[in-house]
């Protein structure tokens, strides 16, 4: 053993450090490492839920795919063998597409390959019909402010930054926009995050470039926001519930009411509007044999509240309307009167079959079995969406064999906005129940310097403020604790009278005590929101107790022999106290002061929280919890822990200086 000791004494500094700090560091590393699986364990189910909810999916709209390039002679038609390219039709096949002009299918056979139609038959008539040109470019910053039409027309007040991006559409129906003969493909990505009035960082499902539209205002990269791939940082936070989109195609509608669009790339020339073009559209999938009534759309799930959905049979648009019966469904009635004399009849969403479930006499439908009371009885004159999830619809009448059933427009949920896997969705979550430690670590510098030191919201400042409150509390609590202890040890009857109450005082939950105290202080004229007094008082209230207990123990820890010795010197009670009892109590006092420091911090934080003291750390914690900034809450936890450790260490340092004999 002696040799070991000698080795220990000779060990180099690094080895001593190894035996001292490394075990601590290893435990810390293990704990930090454990946070990763825990973060995944807690976060992945949430990511799954996010992924499964179609409300969080990216929506897409199927529209006719117009000619990608405007032909020089729009009225001439196209000969057999001609190749026509259609923008955005790359995923369509011959069998699943219909060639249309406006809302009218064109009778021509063709082979569709990679978005290009190879005509077998000539197409007569116009390929495209021009409408007017767009007006602009306009000032995008204030489209609604353009009071005089003249301003809009001339583009007066266009600011340098967004010049060439914004144009106004002419009135009337239109199908496509062309710029220099090239088709402009529309496209906009909605931000994944919901603007809450504070958030300035947004992520888009796909778009990595292009201008950003906030509530009909156009922002350019480097001017209104800084971009980093799919993530952008706005110069100023987006307003609450604003629409935050990014132009992913060639253009996006900027303000539907004002009829303005925003181009992804600036242009001096105004785009032109086509009121009708030759286009390919999606055919509904299903047998067209004169019998089949069930078809499905090529994309699902459908957006149910889709006002723009247009399903066509040849050149007739089918109505999605539903009719209710004139009579009440009371469980006994069998005959119901609708408006139309045709349609799909459903009872509680399930189709009832004519001939089997009901008989029809014009608009009057008579069931063989009365529908249950209050059942949802509907008649869809043209078609019903059976199941939005699979995109299946049932037509009222089977289309004639060989006729074309097609979808002009409908909106569907395409894919989860957060990503294609749970991990991706987990990583893209704006807030995690438990963030990865390195995310927290990365956030620390920004969090600490969020506000300048002169700002009361600065965290370092708040920490110092709370430290001040805690130390004040500890000073008062320590003093009170020591005085009480001296009184208790000195005057036994007082101890019997007071000690039960002192113990009882600690059983009062401070969370209940603080509001009462704040009321009293408020009535006494203290501005509790900006005062150290609540923190100091509550901190002292819970810090004095361990000090009292510790000091009483300490004062009584003197061995009888030492007291006999003092007696043999014929010393006065005061001398006994100062020379023996008090010094003997000092180590106990410091241990209890350390406990008191930790307790005082809790008291100070609670007091700050309940008094809404914006200067302290307690308020910051609650604020970040309420704002849901999980990483910041974690950082504040770390800061609070560090503050607690620091304060206890401070007491330890004090002990080293005032009670050096304890240094063993």
């Amino acid at each position: 053993m002696a040799r070991e000791a000698a080795d220990g004494a000779r060990a180099p500094a690094w080895r001593r450090a190894l035996s001292g700090w490394v075990p601590l560091a290893v435990v810390l590393a293990v704990l930090v490492a454990l946070m990763y699986p825990v973060a995944l364990l807690l976060g992945l189910p949430l990511a799954r839920t996010r992924m499964d909810n179609v409300a969080n999916w990216v929506r897409a709209t199927t529209t006719p795919k117009p000619l990608s390039a405007a032909p020089a002679d729009v009225g001439a038609g196209a000969p057999a063998g001609a190749q026509l390219r259609f923008g955005g039709a790359e995923n369509l096949t011959t069998a699943r597409s219909v060639l249309v002009y406006g809302d009218r299918p064109v009778d021509a056979t063709y082979d569709l390959l990679d978005g290009a139609a190879h005509l077998r038959d000539a197409v007569a008539g116009p390929l495209l019909e021009w409408g007017g040109a767009l007006t602009g470019p306009l000032d995008a910053r204030s489209p609604g402010d353009a009071d005089t039409p003249a301003d809009v027309a001339t583009g007066a007040g266009v600011s340098e930054g967004v010049a060439g991006h914004v144009f106004a559409l002419p009135a009337g129906r239109w199908e496509a926009l062309y710029l220099g003969g090239r088709l402009l493909v529309p496209g906009a990505d909605d931000a994944i995050e919901r603007p809450d009035g504070v958030l300035a960082t947004f992520t888009f499902p796909e778009a990595e470039t292009g201008p950003v539209l906030v509530n009909g205002q156009l922002l350019l990269e480097g001017e209104g926001f800084e971009g980093d791939g799919r993530r952008i940082e706005l110069r100023s936070p987006a307003p609450f519930n604003a629409s935050v989109r990014r132009v992913s195609g060639d253009y996006a509608v900027l303000d539907a009411a004002a009829g303005t669009i925003a181009l992804a790339e600036a242009s001096a020339e105004a785009p032109r509007v086509a009121t009708a073009t030759l286009a390919v559209v999606e055919r509904l999938v299903g047998e067209v044999d004169g019998v089949n009534r069930v078809f499905h759309l090529q994309h699902a799930p459908l957006v149910e509240s889709d006002a723009g959905r247009r399903i066509m049979l040849e050149d007739v648009e089918l109505s999605p309307a539903a009719e209710r019966p004139a009579e009440r469904v009371d469980g006994e009635r069998k005959a119901f009167t609708f408006t139309s004399d045709r349609g799909v009849v459903t009872v509680n969403g399930a189709e009832a079959l004519e001939g089997r479930d009901f008989g029809r006499a014009g608009p009057v439908v008579t069931f063989t079995v009365a529908p249950p009371r209050n059942a949802a009885l509907r008649q869809y004159p043209d078609y019903v969406v059976n199941d939005p999830a699979t995109g299946v619809i049932t037509l009222a009448k089977p289309p004639a064999a060989g006729s074309r059933v097609w979808a002009a427009t409908y909106t569907y949920y395409d894919h989860p906005a957060c990503g294609s896997s749970e991990i991706e969705c987990f990583l893209s979550m704006p807030q995690h129940p438990m963030p990865f430690p390195h995310w927290i670590a990365k956030r620390i510098p920004a969090f600490l310097t969020n506000y300048p030191l002169s700002d009361a919201r600065n965290v370092v400042r708040a920490t110092l403020y709370t430290a001040g409150g805690t130390l004040t509390a500890l000073a008062f609590g320590g003093l009170l604790g020591v005085l009480l202890a001296i009184v208790f040890v000195g005057i036994r009857p007082l101890e019997r009278a007071l000690l039960p109450w002192v113990i009882a005082s600690q059983t009062v939950p401070i969370i209940a005590l603080v509001p009462v105290l704040l009321l009293l202080l408020g009535n006494a004229g203290v501005t509790v929101q900006t005062s150290l007094v609540p923190a100091a008082l509550i901190g002292a209230y819970i810090a004095f107790f361990p000090v009292t207990v510790g000091t009483v123990t300490g004062l009584r820890s003197v061995d009888p022999l030492s007291l006999d010795l003092m007696k043999s010197y014929a010393s006065s009670p005061l001398q006994v106290f100062w020379k023996v009892r008090f010094p003997a109590a000092v180590p106990y006092l410091f241990v209890s002061l350390k406990l008191g420091a930790a307790a005082a911090l809790v008291g100070a934080l609670v007091a700050e929280t309940e008094s809404n003291n914006r200067l302290g750390l307690g308020y910051a914690i609650v604020g970040q919890v309420q704002a849901g900034n999980v990483s910041d809450v974690w950082i504040l936890l770390l800061i609070s822990a560090a503050l607690g450790i620091g304060l206890v260490a401070l007491v330890g340092l004090l002990q080293r200086f005032t009670a050096p004999w304890e240094r063993r």
Binding site: D559, D564, K567, Y569, A570, K579, W661
Partner: protein, 287 residues
């Protein structure tokens, strides 16, 4: 040798302790006179009232009956006048004071001027052979050194009397012998009256001028034996024939005390042997 004045006079002193309803007689009808300059050891089995007697003399407890005079005063007055220094079984040093400060403690309490305190404490530490340890804290010293500090502390304010209650009881045999030499030297050097409680016959014989043999249950003084070994005493003293005779006498006295409890009145003969010494001490055993 001229008759030295009586410094401690114990007359018919009894002490009863009451623990709950049980009464224990710690000391019964003790009579003892100690003269100035003597080194008197109290020896006897556990529970014979040695420590009780010491504490009575020191006024740490009060007698149930009887009268004690210390330096011509009541024990209380003697304590107030700081007539004695007390060395306890344990060193009873204060952890928060270094060696020097521990020795200065009584001087502080007695209000000595600061400069004198220090000089006196340093002198005392030199006397017990602890110069160079002034700044050490008690926990840094060995048991023997701690007890030396405690002796230096007891001597610091120059009391007439030194009451030592088994000061070396916790030390090992070797350290104990060294400490015995030291104590003897100190006694010779300072000329103080020492009352010394011990369990060790050899220690008592080696150190004392007189040995008070006590018996237990109830605690009584049985016999007082004068130790006529010449001074200075050294290692040879321990090997002398007289030393063995004396230790044998003490041992016999202790044994007789045990056997003769409430029986033989052997006190007269033992007392006779003890008579004639310079100290006219008296062992009046009240059977």
């Amino acid at each position: 040798m001229p008759e030295a004045p009586v410094i401690i006079d114990v007359q018919d002193v009894s002490k009863l302790f009451r623990v709950g309803k049980v009464e224990a007689v710690a000391l019964q009808d003790a009579n003892l006179q100690i003269h100035d300059g003597q080194f008197v050891s109290l020896i006897g089995p556990s529970g014979c009232g040695k420590t009780t007697l010491m504490r009575l003399v020191a006024d740490l407890i009060e007698p149930t009956s009887g009268r004690i005079t210390v330096a011509g005063k009541s024990p209380k007055e003697a304590r107030a006048a700081r007539e004695y220094g007390y060395v306890f079984q344990a060193p009873a040093l204060y952890d928060w004071r270094n060696v020097l400060a521990n020795v200065m403690l009584p001087l502080e309490i007695m209000g000595w001027p600061k400069g004198e305190r220090r000089a006196r404490a340093e002198e005392m530490l030199r006397l017990v052979g602890l110069e160079g340890f002034h700044r050490s804290y008690p926990w840094q010293l060995s048991g023997g050194m701690q007890q030396r500090v405690s002796i230096a502390r007891a001597l610091a304010f120059d009391p007439k009397l030194l009451l030592m209650d088994e000061p070396f009881g916790a030390l090992d045999e070797i350290t104990r012998e060294v400490m015995n030499f030291e104590l003897l030297r100190l006694w010779r050097q300072t000329g103080k009256t020492v009352v010394f409680v011990t369990h060790s016959i050899a220690e008592a014989v080696f150190l004392s001028s007189h040995i008070v043999v006590m018996t237990a249950r109830p605690g009584r003084i049985r016999e007082i034996i004068e130790v006529d070994l010449p001074y200075p005493r050294d290692h040879e003293t321990r090997e002398s024939e007289r030393f063995f005779e004396l230790t044998t006498r003490v041992r016999e006295a202790l044994r007789l005390g045990k056997e003769g409890e409430g029986a033989v009145g052997g006190a007269a003969s033992v007392g006779g042997k003890g008579a004639g010494g310079p100290a006219k001490t008296l062992a009046k055993v009240g059977y």
